[in-house]
């Protein structure tokens, strides 16, 4: 097929709306953010920030709450990503024959995804309440005692379970699609060569699903790392800030403390680190691609 390159003037004209859109909706806020991050700024001085250098970055760097929130987000993101993808993978493989025959099952399994995360937080606040919730009620009725689901030692794990229950169906959906896309000829050929079920899974199916697994892990880690809604509704930032994620830290610094410069500086640090990590992963992936070629 012959392709013709558009003249450069026409190309520029066609690209102009997109460039304007990016400049207005991404470029402008990014520049304002950079200015605020090096300024002494409050709600009263939003239009006339006073440049103060890197003091906001120093304040964030020296703030133990920032590191506590970073550690929480890293742990939360990593653990929920692993659990959701692990469970999603197991469910996708084991439920695949069933879903294939009864496709409405998939619709039911996807239901948790339809609920807003803030609503999930509210729901569990009620479900786990010692005097109003069904779970503690039956624990008291059957065992004469109940776990302290949102106490200082268990709140983190309760949040992990709540997040995992809501988002495992997302991983299940991705893995089911990837599993169904494995060419049947390959599976049949392996079976004819004598591969048992476990070998088939380990040496054929999982390697073919690996790109999907990597993408799912990345998406779920990013989602878990930036968690806000359900954690904020369920435990707030927790006693002593123990369940404050980075998003909650930034929100509280901005709105609750009115420390706009500090909040924006924290978000800039977060952006730079995230960009570096993603760039690094991209470089590694490109090198692997090169090696495979």
């Amino acid at each position: 097929m012959n392709t013709q390159r558009a003249p450069s003037s026409e190309f520029r004209l066609l690209a102009t709306p997109l460039v304007i859109f990016l400049l207005v909706f991404l470029g402008f806020p990014a520049i304002v953010n950079l200015i605020y991050s090096i300024s002494d700024v409050s709600f009263e001085t939003l239009r006339r920030p006073k440049i103060t250098g890197l003091s906001n970055f120093v304040a964030v760097w020296n703030d133990s709450a920032f590191w506590q929130a970073t550690w929480f987000s890293l742990r939360f993101g990593a653990l929920t990503a692993l659990l959701e993808c692990g469970l999603g993978l197991i469910l996708a493989i084991f439920l695949s024959p069933l879903i294939e025959k009864r496709s409405w099952l998939m619709a039911i399994l996807m239901l948790p995804l339809m609920v807003a995360p803030a609503l999930v937080g509210l729901m569990y606040r009620l479900v786990l309440h010692e005097f109003a919730g069904p779970v503690p009620y039956y624990l008291w009725a059957w065992f004469g005692a109940s776990l302290s689901f949102l106490g200082p030692t268990s709140a983190f794990w309760t949040l992990i379970v709540v997040e995992t229950l809501q988002w495992t169906p997302f991983a299940l959906l991705l893995f089911y699609m990837a599993y169904r896309a494995i060419p049947t000829e390959v599976v049949e050929a392996s079976a004819m060569d004598g591969a048992r079920r476990w070998s088939l899974l380990w040496y054929i199916e999982l390697p073919l699903m690996a790109p999907t697994i990597a993408v799912a892990l990345l998406i779920r880690f990013i989602d878990g790392f930036r968690v806000f809604d359900n954690v904020y509704v369920l435990t707030g930032s927790g006693p002593g800030g123990s369940t404050a994620s980075l998003s909650i830290y930034i929100y509280e610094a901005f709105f609750k403390q009115g420390a706009i410069g500090k909040a924006v500086a924290a978000s800039v640090i977060l952006f730079v680190v995230s960009f570096a990590v993603l760039y690094g992963l991209n470089v590694i992936a490109s090198r692997r691609k090169g090696v495979l070629k």
């Binding site: 709450a65 786990l128 005097f131 949102l150 002593g240 123990s242 009115g258």
Partner: protein, 442 residues
């Protein structure tokens, strides 16, 4: 698509947009506190105002509400952006300093002092200027189970057990007293006595329920305890005084009750609603709670287990007296209001006796002087107590209306809950709070 169709569609879009944007065309637009008794009361008062023959068509009031969640943050952003969407906006004692730069002082009616009294009017003042009319007052009651306390007072064996428990946990032998005579040690001893983890024969699972979530409003409930021991945020010279024996006593009392199991283990995630649910279950003997909970906890329909056996008194006393935190919700004037004269006229009327009585008769919670509250005492007996407690025991901490007051509460919530949950020592919690407050209130 023909040109006519496009034109018709455009006209329809303009008509829908006009309908949706109707509040923007209001004569005087008032941004209220949505979804509770405050909204009901404001609607009733507004109807009375709009029906007045001397209120010009251009000065009629229309109401605007948005969600309670994040209300103050959204209001902050709107005011800072110079919003003209409302002429009059909601205001709270603890946020006056934060919003004052975007508002204007107001003039109240000549009746305001006789209707509300000076102490209540002060909850809407900042740097000596009146920034709002105080329509609703919030303070704390101690809710308690009178059936349980009466039974305890009549039983000699129970009294002996009570003395034994107080000796063991508080280091002094105490006798049960009537709740209106309690000091904070009596409260702690009673809470321990009615806790099954401490006293297996207790009829309730917990003696009290503390609101320990890392949340600024919970610090308002807590601080009446240190205040009764002389605690304050800062002295008259502006020196931060939070690292004191008074705050130490308050923090340690809460910690003692939490560690002894006198309050649910999940209390560290409890706020208003959770504490109410715990008390209404009948498994709690006494608690400090906002006056706003009174109607629910004494309603047979809403709290059938405890409604008929619940009574309220002011929070317990300390060596310096008996105190309850007070703060007001009210209405002030947006600096960017488009109809300032109309807005000012509505605010002036809102501070009159007629408006206050209308507001009180429709579920509002204004703190009225004894003469005025007498006129609605039959319909609203709870307002009698509200006015009495506010004038006798009400206080605002030094710095409690400053621009950073909310941030101070946030700081205290983080540090104090860190201590109660065992993440840091009391020395660190107090030192961090003092350091942070010195920075915020300098």
């Amino acid at each position: 698509m023909t040109l006519t169709t496009i034109r018709k569609g455009g006209l329809l879009a303009v008509a829908i947009a006009s309908l949706l944007a109707s509040p923007a065309f209001a004569k005087v637009t008032v941004l209220g506190w949505p979804g509770g008794p405050e909204e009901t009361a404001l609607r009733a008062a507004t109807d009375v105002y709009n029906a007045k023959p001397d209120v010009a068509e251009n000065d009629k009031v229309e109401l605007l509400f948005f969600n309670r969640d994040g209300f103050w943050d959204k209001l902050q952003a709107d005011l800072a952006a110079g919003s003209k969407a409302f002429d009059v906006n909601l205001l709270a004692t603890y946020s006056i300093g934060r919003y004052a730069p975007f508002m204007e002082p107001v003039e109240l009616s000549g009746e305001a002092v006789s209707v509300y009294g000076d102490a209540v009017l002060k909850t809407m003042q900042y740097e000596g200027k009146q920034f709002g009319v105080p329509t609703d007052l919030s303070l704390h009651f101690m809710y308690y189970r009178k059936d349980l306390i009466d039974a305890l007072m009549k039983d000699d064996a129970a009294k002996a057990k009570y003395a034994e428990i107080s000796q063991k946990h508080l280091g002094k032998k105490l006798e049960p007293k009537s709740p209106d005579e309690w000091n904070w040690d009596d409260y702690a001893a009673t809470a321990l006595y009615f806790t099954q983890a401490v006293n297996p024969d207790s009829p309730t699972r917990y003696g009290t329920v503390l609101q320990l979530k890392n949340l600024l409003f919970n610090m308002m409930v807590f601080q009446s305890l240190p205040r009764a021991y002389g605690g304050n945020w800062m002295d008259d010279a502006g020196k931060i005084t939070v690292n004191s024996e008074a705050y130490r006593k308050g923090l340690e009392t809460y910690k003692l009750l939490y560690d002894a199991g006198a309050t649910p283990r999940d209390s560290l995630s409890y706020e208003f609603a959770e504490a109410n649910a715990a008390y209404a279950s009948g498994q709690v003997a006494a608690m400090m709670q906002w006056n706003a909970a009174a109607s629910d906890l004494t309603s047979k329909e809403k709290s059938p287990t405890v409604a008929e056996v619940t009574d309220t008194v002011a929070p317990p006393a300390g060596p310096e007296g008996r105190f309850t935190h007070i703060h007001g919700l009210g209405f002030g004037l947006n600096k960017n209001a488009e109809n300032k004269a109309g807005a000012q006229a509505f605010i002036k009327w809102l501070s009159s006796k007629e408006a206050a009585l209308t507001y009180a008769r429709h579920n509002g919670a204004p703190a009225l002087t004894p003469d005025v509250v007498a006129e609605v005492a039959k319909e609203r007996p709870d307002l009698v107590k509200l006015g009495e407690f506010a004038s006798k025991y009400g206080y605002v901490m030094n710095g409690g209306t400053s621009a950073k007051a909310l941030t101070v509460y946030e700081l205290q919530a983080k540090e104090f809950t860190g201590y109660w949950s065992g993440q840091q020592s009391i020395d660190d919690a107090l030192a961090n709070t003092e350091k942070g407050m010195a920075e915020l209130l300098k």
